[in-house]
């Protein structure tokens, strides 16, 4: 048996953006890692075999007709950073190369096909040149010159003004356009200030349901819902902004819209949505189904890239992925408000697409990597359709997660343990406690590269879903104002239970790590217990007072989670901040942080690091240029390797016997 290596993920292929043709043929994007970068190619399923269509770097496509895909790609020309431009190509699924069809003066982010040759496009516009799309070449050149001259400055006049992963977003909006290919005509469908989140076309292609809201300074997280007539281009507001956070919209019929949304009154910013119907003409709203559960999969893994739709209208209602405990299932909400479970999966689902007979999924089954699978709705049979990653884990030691749950008040906290490679019950082993982010996310028994790597390196790895995690409903996920209390207790009790169940673990040689909320909790732990021999705090939070005031979601998520803000109750915010307990810490701690992390800013790691050093604790930071909060999942491959190297070397230094270190 071979080890899972530190760069094993570089051999993996990732699937995303699953979309079916009108007749139900699946197409998707396959991402692979080449030359230290990610590239995506279009695939279709042809006679039940995956067929690669393109060989460039693609991520966005739609079906034009049964045999044709329209997609966006950057081929040939080097993109000019000051320009706004998107080039579209067509390729036939039955043979032939891609053909360039048109180039639009827009940064297109989403395509909604109305019919062949007519598309609703979501494009990112810049309010300082909102008319760029209709300018003459000379006017555009002037805009480019101005942008170049402004390159040294960042003007900020909005909130938020940056967004993790997207950088500075001040003055940017998502705007809807209608493009008529035959006439080569581009029409904006909304005002420049209006920021569009979603646009969904009605079954007979006459209407568009739009969620979004206009804003000048502060972006409103509770958006409005609008219906547009695609013939007259007139729109009506069905739901005013400021009432609901809208998670999903779909057309139930030509006259009825289904919306998953939450007023956030019971559980705040992370509340799971209820399902409502809205009359497409009057906006009359009715509650179709209450819901306490997650919408979409909550299960994390570091072996995914890109995303896909996790809800779609199916044969008798809205099909959706949701996480039940630590497994994903597909369920269907019928028009009468009742639920039906379609299937349960031993694994996690990244995307779904459905026809009358078949349910297509991109899923990670058992300890496998993502593949396309097909579930027959008539026979209830599940068939893997691709084997992109079959060879990647062959002959490797893949630890089977062994479940271990503990009671926590009226709940149960689910956890798992990975045994080290070549496990010998008579030996003593170091261990790593891994804590997920969110906190409203969840671990499941799915393949996790970093954990499998540590198991191959001779560590026990333990991980669980403490209170605050997703997958067990609103009440379980509720942590507002309670950070560092019940969640900390759950993690400590889980650690105790693992130690009791696995006497081979050396209690003196346990490390703790986690990113984001997991980094917050790592910082919290080292200030509250000395049981860990080492800590690796990734993209962490130290001080919620500063975080609220500079994070991209400071005034929409962070203050909500604290149950206070710096003006209503600074003590409450401070009492949930790990920085307060830095003077108690003794654990040697490594900090991993990215310079362009706008979710948990670099300055959070810095505050904790400096505080530890000030109090005489051994510490180290490794900071990453050009990376965001997503370093461990979507970072440059060589950076991902370095991150894992840093963490592992730190754990090895403090948790492995000295003799082993030298080898």
């Amino acid at each position: 048996m071979n080890k899972i290596t530190i760069d094993h993920f570089q051999r993996m292929q990732f699937l995303s953006a699953l979309v079916l043709s009108p007749a139900g043929q699946p197409a998707w994007v396959r991402t692979q890692i080449e030359n230290d970068a990610y590239t995506g190619q279009l695939f279709v399923l042809d006679h039940d075999q995956p067929k690669q269509l393109t060989s460039g770097n693609e991520s966005l496509f739609v079906w034009d007709d049964e045999k044709t895909l329209l997609f966006i790609s950057n081929r040939g020309e080097k993109p000019q950073p000051e320009a706004e431009s998107t080039t579209f190509y067509r390729i036939r699924t039955d043979g032939g190369e891609a053909v360039k069809v048109f180039t639009l003066p827009l940064k297109v982010r989403q395509i909604v096909p109305i019919k062949q040759g007519l598309y609703v496009l979501t494009a990112q516009i810049d309010l300082t040149a909102a008319d760029y799309w209709k300018m003459s070449e000379a006017e555009r050149e002037a805009v480019h010159r101005r942008r170049k001259a402004e390159a040294d400055y960042q003007i900020v006049s909005e909130q938020p003004y940056y967004q993790d992963g997207a950088g500075y977003t001040n003055g940017l909006r998502s705007r809807l356009f209608l493009y008529d290919e035959a006439r080569n005509e581009l029409k904006p469908l909304c005002e420049p200030q209006f920021h569009v989140s979603r646009a969904v076309v009605s079954p007979d292609h006459n209407h568009l349901a739009i969620s979004g809201a206009p804003f000048v300074t502060i972006r409103q997280p509770k958006e409005g819902l609008y219906r547009m007539d695609l013939n007259t281009l007139k729109s009506d507001c069905l739901l005013e902004p400021g009432q609901f956070s809208i998670a999903e919209i779909q057309w139930l019929s030509e006259t009825q819209i289904l919306a998953a949304m939450s007023d956030q009154k019971r559980y705040g910013a992370v509340e799971n949505p209820f399902f409502y119907t809205l009359d497409a003409h009057t906006g009359k709203r009715e509650l179709l189904a209450e819901n306490e559960e997650s919408l979409g999969s909550a299960l994390g893994s570091d072996c995914q890239y890109g995303s896909g739709k996790q809800t779609q209208m199916g044969p008798d209602g809205l099909f959706m992925v949701h996480t039940l405990g630590a497994f994903d299932e597909v369920r269907c909400l019928k028009a009468d408000g009742t639920w039906r479970t379609i299937m349960q999966l031993d694994g996690s689902i990244q995307a779904l697409a459905v026809t009358d007979e078949r349910l297509w999924l991109i899923a990670m089954l058992g300890q496998k990597l993502p593949e396309l699978v097909c579930f027959n709705l008539k026979t209830n049979e599940l068939h893997p359709m691709t084997a992109f990653n079959e060879a990647v884990l062959a002959d490797c030691y893949v630890a089977e997660p062994e479940p271990l749950s503990i009671p926590a008040s009226e709940f149960q906290v689910d956890g798992w343990v990975l045994k080290p490679k070549d496990y010998d019950p008579n030996q003593k082993y170091p261990a790593i406690l891994n804590i997920h982010g969110g906190p409203k996310a969840a671990y499941g028994p799915v393949f996790f590269h970093e954990m499998q790597f540590w198991a191959s390196e001779g560590y026990f790895v333990m991980f669980c879903n403490p209170r605050g995690s997703n997958g067990k409903g609103n009440a379980f996920a509720e942590l507002r104002g309670l950070y560092g209390t019940i969640d900390y207790d759950d993690l400590m009790n889980f650690t105790d239970a693992v130690l009791a169940a696995y006497p081979a673990i050396d209690a003196e040689r346990i490390g703790v790590t986690g990113g984001s909320y997991g980094g917050y909790m790592t910082n919290w732990m080292i200030g509250h217990t000395d049981r860990f021999a080492a800590a690796a705090s990734q993209r962490s939070i130290a001080n919620w007072v500063s975080l609220i005031c500079y994070a991209d979601i400071g005034f929409t998520f962070d203050n909500d989670q604290m149950g206070a803000d710096p003006w209503s109750d600074v003590q409450k915010v401070w009492d949930q901040s790990p920085l307060q307990f830095a003077d108690k810490a003794k654990t040697p701690t490594l900090f991993i942080h990215s310079f362009e992390d706008y979710r948990c800013l670099l300055q959070e790691g810095m505050q904790m690091y400096n505080a530890l050093v000030h109090h005489g604790v051994e510490a180290r930071m490794c900071l990453f240029n050009g990376e965001s909060h997503g370093l461990s999942r979507i970072g440059k491959p060589s950076h991902r390797v370095r991150r894992l190297q840093e963490i592992t070397a730190w754990m090895d230094r403090w948790c492995k016997p000295a003799t082993e270190n030298k080898s």
Binding site: D152, V156, F555, L579, M606
Partner: protein
């Protein structure tokens, strides 16, 4: 007559690094101008009667080799970056002051910071080395290339193991040390004289003995140096003052004894003014030559039209000459065992002093002029202006004169000034701007200040003062520890009241407030405590001292000292001095100016205040500058400095100018 324009500083010549020739007959200095590509420095020579340019630009530093020759370090092409940011290199040139172009002398594998002549053949230099390879200069060409390759492979990562690991103006200083080397200019032989983990802050050499202030550390880079004497003949090395006792400033030799300015920081904390000590190297006996609570050893008077400075202390066997700020003007003090006395009072600011030909020369500002070189003749007790870089420019420019007045605050009086537009019309009504200096331990004086002159030229009345916490009036006055936002705020408000009383032409509804650093802190504080200002421009500001302590370059030395608390002993005391707490009370429209590479007051401070007031419905804007540090307004790129002033002036014009409301 021309008005002072937004880019007036373009036409200023900034003077620095005044050094006399060994025979004392003349002096050289650096002249610098702000260009789009950067600051262009060249070497000038002055013999008292004539001033002449010696080199083209690109000069970094220089030493007199002998009476005839000057050795200088240079980047000969402006804007040129280091050939490799991963290596270490300085090019030395030699120029004959009698004529002829400079000739390349030697290229050294050292990032030289400070250099001094040791003898006819050798230099002593400090150079920045990195912990990963402190012996870079001692390696072979091939080994150096390996180090460069290794550093290149690490360029995406910044590993941190020290604290503080950033320094404003230098960026990440993790793993860097200033190491002392002896360089043979003949054969290029380099010898390291200090240990790899030591950082040499300053050194001076006399009679084969090096005196240096040294910081040795593995993790925590403290504030306090030790004092070391290194005998280059016997190679003996002694700690004269153990590290950790004092914060050591200027050091020198006098009659074979070590002389140094240092503060123990026991009474007034990290900003305590130094005293002058003399230490017998043989016996270790220390005596205090000057016991003072006043600012000494440099000028505390601020302006935005200088770039670099020079020696402000001269050590000689007879006496120590030192610049000293008294309230808001400078003096040169002569100090020996019999006491101290002012030899020259200077109604302005002094950036460098030197003794030349029996006279005392200085680079300074006075009388609303830009920098010039001046000579003071002790025999006639007269001052002569030796250079005339700006005579013509100033003759044709309308320059406003600050009016000094004092405001009584019970037990003390404040020095304040009003700058009216040169064409001030008593019958008109004017908008006004309160300008607050940084520090807080610095001082405004009666010297040319470009931003203020520009605003006066734009029709604003500008007023400014030295509130409690300012420099120039002794340690007690400067002591603001644990009471930020209290007495200083009250002083500024009382001063504003007094200005409004004195100048009825000021429209009280059209007041603006601005300041940078501590001045930005105070701007943030003011908008949370009063609505009397209709607009604010908060530059490189502080919002939240808790995050400041954990993120800036002096959090656990200066910040905790100034707060008189740390987050574990008195979080609420820190919070009570943080403007962020009062962001929910703010109404004044505020523009924030901040640089991405500000490690003194990190950009996240401006961001916190911005987000907080926007969240509370206040009109706000930020203009963030790439590639700039805390020093944007003084040493920033030319077009960035213009943009900064443009942003603030547009903001004030929008909210304070009458036309804006009509």
């Amino acid at each position: 007559m021309n008005k002072v324009t937004i880019d007036f500083f373009d036409q200023a010549h900034f003077l620095s690094n005044l050094k006399a020739s060994p025979d004392g007959l003349r002096a050289a200095f650096l002249e610098c101008q702000c260009r789009d590509e950067g600051y262009a420095k060249s070497l000038y020579l002055c013999d008292g009667d004539h001033t002449a340019r010696l080199t083209s630009d690109g000069v970094m530093d220089y030493v007199w080799e002998n009476d005839q020759m000057i050795l200088f370090s240079a980047r000969r092409r402006m804007g040129q970056k280091d050939s490799s940011p991963y290596g270490e290199q300085t090019d030395l040139y030699r120029i004959d002051i009698q004529g002829g172009e400079a000739r390349p002398l030697i290229s050294l594998p050292l990032a030289i910071e400070q250099m001094e002549k040791l003898n006819e053949r050798e230099l002593l230099v400090t150079a920045e080395v990195r912990k990963d390879c402190p012996d870079f200069a001692l390696l072979t060409e091939k080994e150096r290339q390996d180090v460069i390759d290794r550093r290149k492979a690490e360029e995406d990562y910044q590993v941190v193991t020290e604290s503080p690991f950033v320094l404003d103006g230098s960026g990440f200083i993790e793993g860097t040390r200033s190491r002392l080397f002896r360089v043979d200019l003949g054969d290029g032989k380099i010898e390291a004289l200090s240990e790899p983990l030591e950082s040499v802050s300053q050194f001076t050499v006399a009679d084969g003995r090096v005196l240096m202030s040294v910081k040795k550390f593995e993790v925590v880079r403290g504030e306090q140096d030790g004092l070391v004497c290194l005998d280059l003949v016997t190679n003996q090395r002694r700690w004269l003052i153990e590290q950790g006792r004092m914060r050591i400033r200027q050091i020198g030799w006098r009659r074979g004894q070590a002389v140094f300015f240092a503060s123990e920081n026991k009474t007034f904390g990290t900003t305590e003014n130094p005293k002058l000590y003399q230490l017998d190297v043989e016996t270790g006996e220390i005596r205090c030559l000057l016991d003072t609570e006043n600012h000494i050893g440099s000028s505390a008077v601020m302006t935005d039209v200088i770039y670099g400075s020079g020696r402000q202390v001269l050590f000689s066997d007879e006496a120590v000459l030192a610049v000293h700020t008294d309230r808001y003007a400078d003096e040169i003090l002569r100090i020996d065992e019999h006491g101290s006395a002012a030899v020259l009072s200077w109604p302005g600011a002094i950036q460098a002093i030197e003794t030349v030909n029996g006279q005392l020369w200085l680079i300074g500002l006075q009388d609303q002029k830009l920098q010039e070189l001046y000579g003071w003749d002790p025999a006639t007790k007269t001052v002569r202006q030796l250079t005339h870089f700006h005579d013509e420019l100033l003759a044709e420019t309308e320059i406003a004169k600050p009016e000094h007045f004092m405001v009584s605050r019970g037990s003390y009086e404040l020095d304040g000034w009003i700058l009216k537009p040169a064409d001030f019309d008593e019958k008109r009504s004017y908008p006004a701007i309160l300008d607050i200096h940084g520090g807080p331990k610095t001082a405004y004086g009666e010297v040319f200040f470009h931003e203020m002159q520009f605003w006066a030229a734009q029709g604003y009345i500008v007023f400014f003062c030295n509130p409690t916490g300012s420099d120039g009036r002794g340690d007690r006055f400067a002591d603001l520890r644990g009471r930020y936002g209290q007495i200083d705020y009250e002083d500024l408000m009382a001063f504003t009241d007094a200005v409004l009383d004195r100048v009825p032409q000021i429209d009280t509804r059209r007041l603006g407030v601005t300041g940078g650093s501590y001045g930005g802190y105070m701007t943030n504080w003011i908008i949370g405590h009063t609505d009397r200002f209709s607009a604010a421009a908060s530059q490189r500001s502080i919002a939240n001292w808790v995050s400041m302590i954990g993120t800036d370059d002096c959090g656990f030395t200066f910040d905790t000292d100034q707060m008189d608390a740390d987050p574990w002993k008195g979080m609420l005391k820190i919070w009570d001095q943080s403007p962020l707490q009062f962001a929910d009370k703010v109404k004044a429209p505020t523009v924030f100016i901040h640089s991405f590479e500000d490690y003194s007051c990190p950009i996240q401070e401006g961001m916190q205040m911005y987000n907080a007031i926007v969240h509370h419905g206040v009109e706000a804007r930020m203009c963030l500058f790439k590639g700039e540090s805390h020093g944007l307004s003084r040493i920033g790129k030319r077009h960035h400095r213009v943009r900064r002033l443009r942003e603030m002036t547009d903001w004030f014009d929008h909210y304070l100018k009458e036309t804006a409301h009509e």
